[in-house]
Symmetry: C2
Subunit: 769 residues, 2 copies
């Protein structure tokens, strides 16, 4: 495969200016710090194709739902993440002619995302229409240390002329969302101010009254010396700018350092916002670019220490996995339990920036292993805080008694999705939210969340399942009718095996938790029983359902059946499809996809992955060998689970093959949609593919389990994980596994089925036969 | 039940002005002539709630599709019928104060729809805010004889004052559709002209370039004497008016006769349009109101002669059925094979005025029995003319070899519906279109359409079915996966019995037609075989499918099963539902409806109705007794079929009960949605309920079959039908059936299973034991 970006272990590098790919690169080179994010739009004016994007975490807009034929239960509004004030803008005029790469001859263009230190660099030479040639070098970052701060160093040098440079740093709230219904804007100006070297705008969303304030200050040098030219002030609706003229000789280097603070009323009093924002920006300027960059570099060093994966012998894979880890760490830091991880992170506005089950199914395993446990705990709290809305949502659909249905997509707990087959039917998401609680407890060993809050979530979800089932007199079993499983290429099916499985599992786990709490926190349990008006008869009922649940299967093939009647479909394999039909979601009508046996992501395998311990390898293999060849993997979340299971059953070639599909999805624009933003949540899946797949990592009964294997042409693979306060560096080659405990906390390991206690700071070496 | 409109055999009467019900009455009192239609909006200005509606048959607009989440295969545009130039407008000012019923004290208001003669009358007294009292009497009609002509007689009389009347007849193209996406307008002005007593506007649709021209002329009388006051001319964008001042004494009667022609480029050259329209309007004025009204009355007399139903002893039922017949005759005259019957006729814009399978399933039986056969033949031709588009539509969904999928909703042959579960899956509509051909041939005995054009339609539909089936290895049968049946409360089900049945029936009938043509029109058949590239192997394949089709059934209950796995649902009966849950489509979320056993309209019964001859009464009864109690009849098309089958199995009480739900649906605003327009197509179903249900009318082997029974408290019921050029008046009481052949053509009857030849002009009397 030819790669557009240059292969490099620590950097993403674009060589040459390619306007056609600009929107893709804007996604790839995005920066963020969990608090805000910015696509790699240019600082200077650009009249070419560009998707402007600056997003402030948690600031959203409840836009009117767009729907063909309304159905009862649809939400009236859906939240969308908002493009907010453009804070990077620096207009440049050279002898009166704007610098605009769409109208220049661009040479030696290079864009570099330095993932090790967390900054974006851009260099180019541009020949303007009048023949003037300039060299530009920019460096910018969004501080991982100071959540509100973005900094830009913008250097410009006349190469073949002497003339006047006009430099206008600005802030501009006249921004749009590309997914607005009628090209409307979402912001009103509240106030603005512009002084020399200091300007701000404060905006308010037209609904919900989120206030954001943006303040800029800046400094100029000429050939390294600070200069303070006179400033012209400009302002208009939602717009403030300073304009500066500098006369330059050939090869003079003018540098502008722009320091910007972006704050929101989510963290500060509105009355304080202007003042605080200004102080933050001025403080940044005072500390200076180099110091901020040093902080940034150190912060990223810490991040990498806890979450890096090193692959020797495959720079493409190395770059791919680091890019994924980098984006995940830019997106969510776990500091605010009101935030979550949108499918595109801060790299685009698609999917409205909402929270999906991706978080629980794919992201939590990543954050569990690579961050302090408070990060994952905040993700559990996020759902707990939205429990009331999930109960309301279920009530809207006719459920009672505190049953909760978490939304398919949400920003504040309300449903944002409005296609019945997803909104109302893709209810397995509820199970993933319960499973995440189990996952957290199992991985961290920290059961305090159960009594604190998670119990309430489990009860509400179990209550939902207990009402959502139907007793089929004809089967003499409980069934679950009318669902869409994780395989969204089937809609409104009966007895989706995965959904039936996770429904019963939730009730089972909830009963276990009740048992645990009754033994350890009986007082707290009594309080909760009263609060939730919980009855013992509910447990009896759940047990009856668990015992009598119907699971579709095909006994001849020895497999679990994706859903009732799946075997009525014409059984074709993906390999026998005409290549021109792939991807089928771009080439086939929806009904044809639904009628076919083809699977977007195999949900039976997803279930087997979650409940792997219940199945022997032969069962897993039979199911894998049946479903994988029918799976088109047209969900970016699909290949990772298949990697893990292929590894489990020893199909290493398939595991690696699946891994390749995921690891460079965005870098190689595999799905031809990276311009909309990166597939942030599926990046966590790729991490899982390495650690759970190639590493074979599991946690069972408080023991860390490893079963590593290394893909054929890799020399070594190593990853960092945190487990119960231990920090482990796990490296494996074809011949040896080395596990370095980089912390003082001892840990129990089970490698290839054999127990190894590992003391603090010890190194364990295991030779592979 | 309390009726809002006064019960009357021939008239719909509203007594008293009720602004809240005005939009409902605007629908009920609508006028039309097959070529255009007009809601019962007031002539004078009205600032209260009103849905303005003037529709020109066949003039539509391809508006942009509104959709939540796009799916491959969705149409980019959907056609909508357009509200066009307001031609009825007559502004009235009395001593400078506008006459506006929303701002007057309205007394003795009466609105009468005279169905016998086809006009709308309105009388009222209004006390204006200044105390002036006027009496107004209006009469208007849309000519059934002159397709383009609408006429208004508007009389006004000062009752308690002497003063100045300003009368301004106008034409106004500044009209909206209430279902426009962004409140946009759809018309551009092409030209206009205004002279005294003569004005026109010509508009063009913003897309597709339909031109419509409207010309008005008028005449005034004072106390019966023609007057010709001076005229002030007014015009603005898309608007022309004449204004006239008349000084009146108390009790002077001023009458304005407004004659309007509405033409479109669908019938005339654009260059001729202005001239022709003017000539039509002037000719109408020349002939005069009384002559036009006489024509109108005579035309309706002819209509009633062929299609009346008389019910003695139940004025409510009498009024209901006549209203339905009246509306059907106003909607479609069968003169233009490019026109069809929208679900709301000309009474509202809902459903976009498009063509649904309603036409074939419900309307064709009505027109077959009550009009010359060319009327139904034109409805067959409508689909033939759109065959290429239906083939294109199927190709879009992946079908090949000339397979056709007719759209669910259409204006010009292109699909206008965009919800996948309907658009792509409610494919049974294709079967209804084939069945209509059979129905036409069976009823009329006229097989000429087969070779002429219908054969091509049948081949294309059969080809669709042959590709749409799947061979299920697990069932060793052909199955049809992923469909929505006529019961739209199930989506994406497998093996909907009705769909499987009508699919095989279509192929079977097509083979029969091939056989017929090979014997009678072998040369024509050869031509068609070449044209369609038809292969004998297709017949072989169809036969294999027909032989091996899977039909779900429940052997224990002895019933056909609506779809696979229907018996997994919780089996509850409608009678056991909480009343507050009904109608479920307003009270339940969509998923709850889908999961429930409740049925919108029972499609197994629909299938049994179509293929009744194949089943014995015991089978029909078992199915009826199973499905009807589970059916909520929330489709206006549901009760009529149930009436017919209930009659068939001798459940007369149920038959009458079902009939009541349908017959006065709009007059009693049963579904609380009549303000959007009348349920025109379901009115044909009500007619079927009487004639096929109570009358037991069938045609088998060229014989007219009757099995009448009369509801308990009716004295007599009689209906007119045409059959093979005979015109029959069939009247039945509890004791006797009288069949008068009102024509010279003899006919063979089978009444209660006994043969009766009936000669021309003869009367047959059969005593009922």
């Amino acid at each position: 495969m030819k790669h557009y970006y240059k292969l490099d272990e620590w950097n993403i590098i674009e060589n040459g200016f390619n306007a056609d790919k600009n929107e893709i690169s804007e996604s790839i080179f995005s920066l963020g710090n969990g608090n805000m994010g910015q696509r790699a739009n240019f600082e200077e004016d650009y009249s070419g194709k560009s998707l402007m994007g600056n997003y402030i975490a948690g600031v959203y807009y409840p836009d009117k739902t767009r729907v063909g034929w309304w159905k009862n239960g649809y939400p009236e509004y859906f939240a969308k993440v908002l493009n907010s004030t453009n804070w990077i803008g620096i207009s440049i005029k050279i002898d009166g002619l704007p610098l605009d790469l769409a109208k220049c001859n661009v040479q030696e263009f290079e864009r570099v995302l330095n993932m090790k230190e967390g900054y974006l660099q851009r260099n180019f030479k541009a020949v303007l229409m009048n023949g003037n040639e300039v060299e530009v070098q920019t460096k910018r970052f969004i501080s991982m240390v100071r959540g509100e701060i973005g900094v830009i160093k913008y250097s410009i040098k006349p190469l073949n002329f002497k003339g006047k440079l006009e430099i206008s740093p600005y802030l501009d709230g006249n921004v749009m969302n590309s997914d607005s219904n009628y090209d409307e804007t979402f912001w009103d100006e509240i106030s603005k101010g512009v002084k020399p070297y200091d300007a701000y705008v404060m905006l308010k969303t037209k609904k919900l009254d989120f206030h954001i304030c943006t303040n800029m200050t800046f400094e100029l040098t000429k050939n390294g010396e600070i200069i303070k030219p006179l400033v012209t002030l400009n302002q208009s609706e939602k717009y403030v700018a300073n304009s500066i003229s500098v006369n330059c000789d050939k090869n003079d280097e003018i540098v502008i350092y722009k320091y910007v603070a972006n704050t929101s009323s989510r963290y500060y009093e509105i009355s304080e916002l202007i003042k605080i924002t200004r102080e933050l920006a001025l403080k940044a300027k005072k500390d200076g670019f180099e110091m901020l960059l040093k902080e940034q570099s150190e912060a990223w060093h810490e991040k990498w220490k806890e979450s890096d994966i090193v692959i020797e012998g495959d720079v493409s894979a190395q770059q791919g996995i680091r890019f994924n880890i980098f984006q995940l760490n830019q997106t969510y830091t776990g500091d605010d339990s009101r935030l979550n991880i949108g499918p595109k992170g801060f790299t685009g506005e698609k999917y409205g920036g909402g929270t999906y089950w991706d978080t629980e199914a794919y992201c939590i395993p990543f954050y569990l292993s690579t961050s302090k446990k408070r990060v994952s705990k905040n993700l559990l709290l996020y759902r707990y805080n939205q429990l009331d809305k999930a109960i309301e949502n279920a009530e809207k659909l006719g459920f009672t008694n505190g049953a909760a249905l978490y939304p398919m997509v949400t920003m504040n707990g309300e449903e944002c999705h409005n296609e019945w087959e997803i909104t109302f039917e893709e209810i397995h998401r509820n199970g993933a939210i319960a499973y995440a609680i189990y996952n957290y407890v199992n991985y961290t060993g920290d059961k305090s969340c159960l009594g604190e809050f998670s119990f309430e979530v489990l009860i509400a979800i179990s209550r939902f399942w207990a009402q959502r089932i139907t007793f089929s007199a004809s089967k003499n079993k409980y069934v679950i009718l009318g669902v869409t499983g994780p395989n969204e290429y089937e809609n409104n099916v009966n007895n989706n095996w995965y959904t039936n499985k996770i429904a019963c599992w939730t009730m089972q786990y909830t009963i276990k938790v009740i048992d645990y709490l009754s033994k350890t926190e009986s007082k707290r349990l009594s309080e909760l029983v009263v609060k939730l008006n919980f009855k013992d008869s509910e447990i009896t009922n759940w047990k009856k359902i668990i015992k009598n649940m119907y699971y579709p299967q095909n006994k001849d093939l020895g497999i679990f059946l994706q859903q009732d009647d799946y075997m009525d479909k014409e059984q074709i394999l993906v390999k026998d499809l005409d290549k021109k039909d792939i991807p089928i979601n771009q080439n086939w009508s929806w009904d044809r996809i639904l009628r076919s046996c083809f699977i977007k992501q195999a949900d039976v395998l997803q279930g087997i992955y979650l409940f792997e311990n219940e199945y022997d390898v032969a069962t897993i293999k039979r199911n894998f060998d049946f479903y994988e060849p029918r799976t088109v993997h047209e969900s970016s979340l699909s290949p990772c689970i298949h990697t893990i299971l292929a590894a489990k059953i020893g199909n290493h070639a398939k595991a690696y093959d699946m891994y390749l599909r995921a690891s460079r999805l965005d870098l190689d624009n595999y799905n031809n949609d990276t311009k909309d933003g990166c597939h942030t949540t599926s990046m966590a899946g790729t991490w899982m593919a390495v650690v759970h797949g190639f590493g074979g990592l599991r946690v069972i009964d408080n023991k860390l389990i490893l079963n590593p294997f290394i893909p054929e042409h890799w020399c070594s693979c190593s990853f960092k994980i945190m487990f119960r306060d231990a920090l482990l560096n796990i490296k494996f080659t074809k011949n040896i596994i080395q596990i370095q405990n980089e912390n003082y906390v001892p840990v129990n390991l089970l490698v290839y089925g054999k127990d190894y206690p590992l003391n603090g700071n010890d190194l364990l070496e295991i030779k592979i036969q």
